[in-house]
């Protein structure tokens, strides 16, 4: 359980970095539903970590 929490926090950081880049260049303006897109991106990141680590 703690292992997963660490992964979760790390993926939050990754998402934050992605957000910073996307916000800098206004990439989210090209997306229909930005928050849904962010959520999906987060699930992808988190899933990828889980897939490769466990």
């Amino acid at each position: 359980m703690p292992g997963l929490l660490v992964v979760f926090v790390v993926s939050l950081l990754v998402l934050w970095a992605l957000d910073a880049v996307a916000g800098r260049f206004g990439l989210y303006r090209l997306v229909w539903h930005p928050s849904l897109f962010r959520l999906a991106a987060f699930v992808c990141v988190f899933g990828a970590f889980a897939y490769f680590l466990f």
Binding site: D19, A20, G26, P34, L36, L39
Partner: protein
């Protein structure tokens, strides 16, 4: 005729209906979103077999909010508060598990400290402090009889709260998100157009003092509102986050520009009043090119971009006019006044240009490239004694109930104590906490009665999560609708909390009427104790005492301007000023004597403080002869002393020190730039309409200004 009438009436009726429905619909959308989060959290918590799913569900109600930015901001700080709270709980339990007195003492002091911290912050940061406090109690108190379980208790509480936050965040972001970004954009745009329109209207004329005061209040409010919005929107919108510094800069420049603008107009007003028409008219003419510079459609973004070249031209025109206008004046006094005003006009034109520039860049897809070297922050003005009162109240409430708990050995004493602590902390910064707590208590009572009916007459008949959700739905929905309707917000809050608390939904539902009734009584007593605490130790917010202290701090800002280290001082001065003024404004009735005294002082402080800062910048940047420095230092020191403790003696001392400094500067060649600031300060001191007029030795004492806080 009848047909005509009905066609005329129908649209009006339909419009009313549509508007009412739209408002209702927004409330119900919010309720539906909250309920989705509520039951989803409950379901996940039960699947994960967390010990108390109902506290996870309670979290979703607590963070429920209209805009997703608010939800995320509140969640963020609630998360931080919970983590800190549980960690402290582990420390306290590990240190004082065997000592109930020390245990309660340390717990209540910690909670008091957190409550005090909460009063020092506006918006959700203060919430993080409150939570760190009572989060500790929620973890530590239930395990007091079995200290070894503290780790499990901490783990459970943390998972429940974080789960609730996660689900709320996802739901509010993904299901019909309401964006606060748009509100912020609109506020920023309005601030810009309002200010530019005001400047445009004022250029080339005299603005009456009242219009100036009203405008000042409006600008202060605009600056503080924008900062408040920014601090929440950064959680919701990534582009805003990337541009956060730029927004701050925009706001800082706004404050700086409006201060210079006010100084300029006060100067012109003073010259007019003193019948120095020649100097005043020369200044007005010098100022005129700006009007041409500001002509054009208003609006941030592209429209602001279009304003930039004319403003540059206007600045050049002003530079060109200075020489010819100066040549038209002969009198030495006129010349000095003109120089002071010309310096102010130049400063104002430069600042206006910067402000328009940052407004123009706000909407471009590229972030603003030149973030200035000066630290861009919005500082707040805080009052530590008010915080001390909040601390004493929270600590004493908890100690009193803790002592009662120990003495009476009441099995539900701990839950009464917990709830009292929670509300003593939560409402410490509310404007009328006794009343609010009372209403929440009534809501709690109704909610718990409903919970009793729901639990023992309905839930006993059904089985499974789906049916449970259907049966709880009508009860909780009523509470949420009230919670999201501004008029009944406190009552609905109590209702939703009480209902969720007493239902105590869990995998293995406990049906124990005696326990439920005892628990309900404990909750009511806890809330009553919190309300009583607010009566016994009344909150500082809104009291004349705190207002006086805030005013004293506002005046102390001049001392800050005179003494604090220079880097970043301009921004610090402006932002603390505006925060203090808006705090006092929130506590005074508009139009009352207090309010007028406040504005009078605020204007004086703004003007003199800025002049002092500019003068210190010039002193630091240029070569001031050593013989001159002591005079200037004395003048600054006396000014600071007058503003910190205004009376006739300090007023005379400040006035004379400034006059001495001016004559000292006149004796040295090439120091004329200091003269501009000094004569501005002097004129502000001699202004018979400002707040300082009450301290002039020969003036009849204007009571309401002299004795105003």
């Amino acid at each position: 005729m009848a047909a005509v009438d009905s066609t005329q009436r129908t649209p009006a009726f339909r419009q009313v209906l549509v508007e009412a429905l739209r408002e209702e619909a927004s409330v119900w959308l919010l309720v539906v979103k909250t309920l989705i989060a509520f039951f989803l959290t409950g379901w996940i918590a039960m699947r994960l077999a967390l010990p108390s799913p109902s506290s996870a569900m309670l979290t979703t109600i607590i963070v429920a909010n209209r805009q997703s930015g608010m939800v995320l901001a509140k969640s963020f700080y609630r998360g931080i508060g919970t983590v800190v709270g549980t960690l402290v709980a582990i420390v306290i339990v590990s240190a004082f598990a065997q000592q109930r007195v020390l245990f309660l003492l340390s717990l209540s002091v910690w909670i008091g400290l957190c409550t005090a911290g909460a009063t020092l912050y506006r918006n959700f940061k203060s919430y993080a402090f409150v939570l760190a406090g009572y989060g500790t109690a929620l973890v530590a108190v239930p395990v007091i009889n079995a200290p070894l379980n503290v780790f499990d208790s901490a783990w459970a509480r943390m998972s429940e709260v974080l789960l609730g936050l996660l689900v709320s965040g996802v739901v509010s972001e993904a299901v019909f998100p309401a964006r606060m970004r748009d509100v912020m954009r609109r506020t920023g745009r309005e601030q810009f157009t309002d200010f530019i329109a005001f400047v445009r209207g004022a250029v080339g004329g005299v603005v009456p003092r009242e219009a100036m005061e009203n405008a000042h209040l409006r600008f202060v409010r605009a600056a503080v509102t924008l900062e408040d919005l920014r601090s929440s929107v950064v959680f919701e919108d990534v582009e805003t986050r990337a541009r956060s510094n730029h927004l701050r800069l925009f706001n800082q420049r706004f404050m700086a520009t409006s201060t210079s603008f006010q100084s300029l107009h006060h100067l012109i007003n003073r010259l007019k009043r003193a019948h120095r028409e020649r100097a005043a008219n020369a200044l007005i003419r010098l100022y005129a090119p700006l009007r041409k510079g500001l002509d054009g459609p208003l609006g941030a973004g592209l429209a602001a971009q279009a304003l930039l070249p004319p403003l540059v031209d206007a600045r050049k025109a002003i530079d060109a006019d200075v020489v010819s206008l100066r040549a038209s004046l002969a009198d030495a006094q006129d010349l000095r006044d003109f120089d002071t005003g010309a310096a102010l006009i130049r400063r104002f034109a430069d600042e206006l240009h910067d402000y328009v520039e940052s407004a123009a860049a706000l909407q471009s897809s590229r972030p603003f490239p030149t973030i200035s070297a000066e630290r861009v922050r919005f500082d707040r003005g805080n009052d530590f004694l008010g915080a001390g009162i909040a601390m004493a109240r929270a600590t004493l409430t908890m100690l009193a109930l803790g002592a009662f708990w120990i003495q009476s050995a009441w099995p539900f004493g701990s839950s009464a104590m917990l709830l009292a602590t929670v509300f003593a902390g939560l409402f410490a910064t509310a404007p009328n906490p006794t009343r609010t707590t009372w209403i929440v208590m009534l809501g709690y009572l109704c909610g718990m009665t409903m919970a009793f009916i729901c639990l023992f007459f309905i839930l006993t008949q059904v089985d499974g999560f789906g049916l449970m959700a259907v049966c709880v739905f009508p009860f909780i929905a009523v509470g949420l609708v009230m919670m999201f309707t501004p008029k009944t917000a406190s009552f609905g809050l109590g209702w939703a909390f009480g209902l969720t608390y007493l239902l105590g939904l869990n995998n293995i539902q406990v049906f124990d009427p005696a326990h439920a009734i005892n628990d309900a009584i404990a909750q009511i007593i806890g809330l009553g104790a919190a309300a009583a605490a607010f009566v016994v130790i009344p909150p500082a917010v809104g009291s004349p005492w705190l207002r006086r202290r805030l005013m004293a701090r506002l005046r102390g800002q001049v001392a800050l301007a005179a003494n604090a280290p220079l880097p970043g001082l301009r921004h610090r001065f402006e932002s603390v000023n505006n925060d203090l003024v808006s705090q006092v404004v929130a506590q005074t009735e508009p139009g009352s004597a207090d309010s007028r005294a406040l504005i009078a002082w605020a204007l004086a402080v703004h003007e003199t403080g800025r002049a002092v800062i500019e003068m210190r910048h010039d002193m630091a940047g240029r070569d001031v002869p050593d013989a001159l420095r002591p005079y200037l230092a004395t003048a600054l020191d006396r000014l600071a002393r007058f503003y910190t403790s205004p009376d006739v003696a300090t007023y005379v001392a400040a006035r004379d020190a400034v006059a001495t400094a001016i004559s000292g500067v006149c004796e040295h060649d090439g120091q004329a730039y200091l003269l501009e600031h000094l004569s501005l300060i002097r004129m502000a001191l001699l202004d018979s309409e400002s707040a300082v007029a009450a301290y002039m030795p020969d003036a009849p004492l204007a009571k309401e200004i002299a004795h105003a806080p």
